[in-house]
Symmetry: C2
Subunit: 282 residues, 2 copies
């Protein structure tokens, strides 16, 4: 792998902070932290996620830049980063939507330095305090539009992802956004709305707490996620998410109708068919 001397991480939340911890375990480098939130910078230093704070002006000094800010901020920051880096610097982002990011940099002369690489990893927690060193171990990583990255840069990136314990797959950015809308983004919305519905009706927090062991606790887990992270994701990926929500609401309404009509057979068969998920996710 090309020598990675200095690393800049832009955005020191859950993903950026976890990248910092993971890289520190694997590589001997200096990690520069960049964040518009001074509290995040302070916390990241305190927690030793980063070695020192920096600004975008320091980017010519690093051989790797990781962009881990909310997805609506990534296109603009990516252009700034590509304007400032040296010729052989690797840049990758960890945003959960990919198409608009790839569109915005497609004509940049340093497009080949950029890897659009969303790791399929996260927790419901956020901020530098949420960073954990093993967040990416054994996780999937989907590199989008890989043909637009310079082969030598891509090679370095893939070696780095492997070093972090990730398994990489490849996809076009448009396809990525459509698939992730269903598999990830819809899960977050279903969980947030479940939490909202239950808390609106259940005025007694004690009842929620007492009964949460019945499946609610795990199903509502994602409703603890950061609104700062997820608001721009939902708007960025609006088209696929709205389509997935239409399908989800249609399925809920039909299932409700069967319950209303007390029709055990279709209720049973729908659940039986859905049990197939056991084979996909054992």
């Amino acid at each position: 792998m090309n020598t990675i001397n200095n690393i800049a991480i832009i955005g020191l939340g859950l993903l950026g902070g976890s990248m910092a911890l993971s890289l520190k375990e694997k590589l001997q480098t200096t990690i520069y932290g960049i964040d518009t939130n001074p509290n995040h910078l302070k916390k990241a230093l305190e927690l030793q996620l980063i070695d020192q704070t920096a600004t975008l002006q320091d980017l010519p000094q690093v051989s790797l830049v990781i962009i881990a800010v909310p997805v609506d901020k990534i296109p603009e920051i990516s252009l700034t980063v590509l304007n400032k880096i040296q010729n052989n610097t690797l840049v990758f982002d960890v945003g959960s939507t990919k198409h608009r990011i790839c569109q915005s940099i497609k004509n940049h002369p340093k497009r080949g330095n950029f890897v659009a690489a969303p790791p399929i990893a996260g927790t419901e927690f956020s901020g530098p305090e949420a960073a954990i060193s093993h967040l990416f171990t054994h996780k999937k990583n989907i590199v989008c539009d890989a043909s637009l990255t310079r082969p030598d840069i891509l090679k370095t990136a893939l070696e780095l992802f492997e070093l972090l314990g990730m398994q990489t797959d490849f996809m076009e950015s448009v396809a990525h956004d459509t698939h992730i809308a269903y598999v990830s983004h819809l899960s977050h919305i279903s969980s947030f709305m479940l939490g909202k519905t239950v808390m609106e009706i259940e005025k007694s927090e004690k009842n929620i707490f007492n009964m949460a062991g019945s499946g609610f606790a795990s199903t509502v887990r994602l409703a603890k996620s950061s609104p700062e992270t997820w608001t721009p994701i939902f708007i960025e990926n609006k088209e696929s998410i709205v389509k997935s929500l239409d399908e989800y609401i249609k399925n809920l309404s039909l299932f409700k109708k069967y319950i209303e009509n007390e029709e055990p057979e279709p209720i049973f068969q729908i659940m039986k068919a859905t049990n197939r998920i056991k084979n996909i996710l054992p």
Copy 2:
């Protein structure tokens, strides 16, 4: 605690089997297994969940009967059990709905022997193979309509639940069914419909598998649950479940509208408010 010599467990699935394992760890007794499914009986013997198979005719010989069959079967079985037991035998059921069961036995001369006690515990697995000995440890247990149970029987039951590591709370059966519809049953439906929606759209199981780490795996976990168990629960608790589904669909539709209109402010505020679940379920 009154001496419990012989125990009959009717229904040897996840809950009945786990009761058997938990009781074997704590008490020196003989456990008789009763099940209409001969495979369950065979498996329960093989796994040493039970000491021997039995029939309803053997009930006069036991001092504790646990009813762990699907909820639509509990009212009828409960009447049969109450008809057959001795004067001081404790009977409890573990069904997830309570009102109709309590209604059906309310005039029985042995109503006082019955404790309506749904433990808030379970996994997405089913059958005797799914039984685990610690399923009830540190779990909540909600005893319904406790005033209708004979005080000495109730005392024995509470001591037994404590022995199994459960924390007991009390509620009226109608209130229980309403609350559990929101906190448990709605979670199961939201999860089943999420699994259905994703599998209908995502023809590629590889994509589902690769992206499941993004939150889908935990949110869809309950969609692995048993249709045999859940079909009768949804129909039994139809009124409250339909109401909860109406609220859930209303919230999803409103959230979808905000995404369609690209309105970050209400999207953010709804998620921020829902984050309160972190305080209730830390």
